[in-house]
Symmetry: C2
Subunit: 209 residues, 2 copies
């Protein structure tokens, strides 16, 4: 059940190298589209050596997902009802966008997994994620009930934040194909857009026209 932590320096280094390589490969080709040879090569190890550190391809994927789950959900966990409601939501938007910018592979890893029906981590994701989302949605609902933000469905608001921010990582080639940005420049524009966009939509003084 519980993962034994690596003992030696070598184990630590190689486990890390394998997970790093696997993140590259899995995020680019999905689980079934990735091969142990690709991962081994990317990690600079032989295939049997990779399987010396992990019992199977499946296990590598599992370990990756488990290891990244916490960091992936951190922005949502950090979302609290302290301070300015709109500021808190904008902050969450910016954090999520920042994660897409700095961790696009992780975004695509999860996107691949969910796209294909979350066959490997579905229950866990759905279970703990649902609880977390329920909790944060309740906060948002209180804000809109109190008139501090516009009256919008909190669940769909959260979905919209996930969608708009992760889009820049998951559909990277499409975004780049259309904008032809220099490196990451378009992320700054995205932040400007999303900030203005959510500010307008959430401002309780605004109307639907």
């Amino acid at each position: 059940m519980a993962e034994d932590r690596p003992r030696t320096r070598i184990q630590e280094k190689n486990r890390a190298a394998i997970l790093e390589a696997a993140l590259d490969v899995f995020s680019q080709s999905g689980f079934r589209g990735s091969t142990l040879d690709q991962i081994a090569k990317a990690a600079g190890l032989s295939k049997p050596n990779v399987l010396y550190y992990f019992p199977s391809k499946e296990a590598i994927h599992q370990a990756l997902l488990a290891e990244l789950m916490d960091v992936w959900l951190e922005p949502l966990r950090a979302f609290t009802d302290e301070g300015d409601p709109i500021g808190a939501i904008l902050d969450y938007v910016c954090r999520k966008l920042h994660m897409s910018r700095k961790m696009p592979r992780e975004s695509r890893l999860f996107a691949n997994e969910v796209l294909q029906g979350a066959p490997r981590y579905g229950p866990q994701i759905t279970g703990m994620l649902k609880d977390l989302v329920d909790e944060k949605a309740a906060i948002i609902r209180r804000w809109s009930d109190a008139g501090k933000i516009a009256p919008l469905d909190p669940y769909h608001l959260i979905f919209s934040i996930w969608a708009t921010t992760q889009h820049y990582a998951d559909f990277d080639v499409q975004v780049r194909g259309i904008l032809h940005p220099k490196d990451d420049a378009h992320y700054d524009d995205a932040e400007t857009f999303l900030t203005a966009f959510y500010r307008r939509a959430l401002n309780p003084a605004n109307t639907e026209g």
Copy 2:
């Protein structure tokens, strides 16, 4: 180069059955995760028979993508500068959402393709898609320049529409895991949310607070 249209009734029927089956399989498992056996079985044919109608797995995928491209881009093509600007944008949002609802497999097919770097259709998508988006973005820019809608980057606005609407198809399991909707019920809520959301964000009389 040009695809010969099927000649006989049998060809038409079997080609259609294969493409339908392939849509099921590819959209669920991605290109590399799908096998000819799965497609053949889903189509009710033998594997050699499938390859009698299409020269390769690659060709099936190609044909699917090509066949669906038009219908997939139809809502964006239908987006014109006639009538009420905000109405036109909301209309586009609703059409896209409707497509996610009624054609989730198609959405996931394209999502899979783009997620993995659009290795098979990248150039075409990017080329014609970019032109189309440039054209529609220009329309939106004119509107915001004229003060008819809020001043927001038109490209990122379009991305946000793609992201928020396709999210319901592409991340279906996650959405369902969190909302536990009866069938498609949550799509109605999504439409309510997105309509109000975009109305508020686009209303030029509104401020960012």
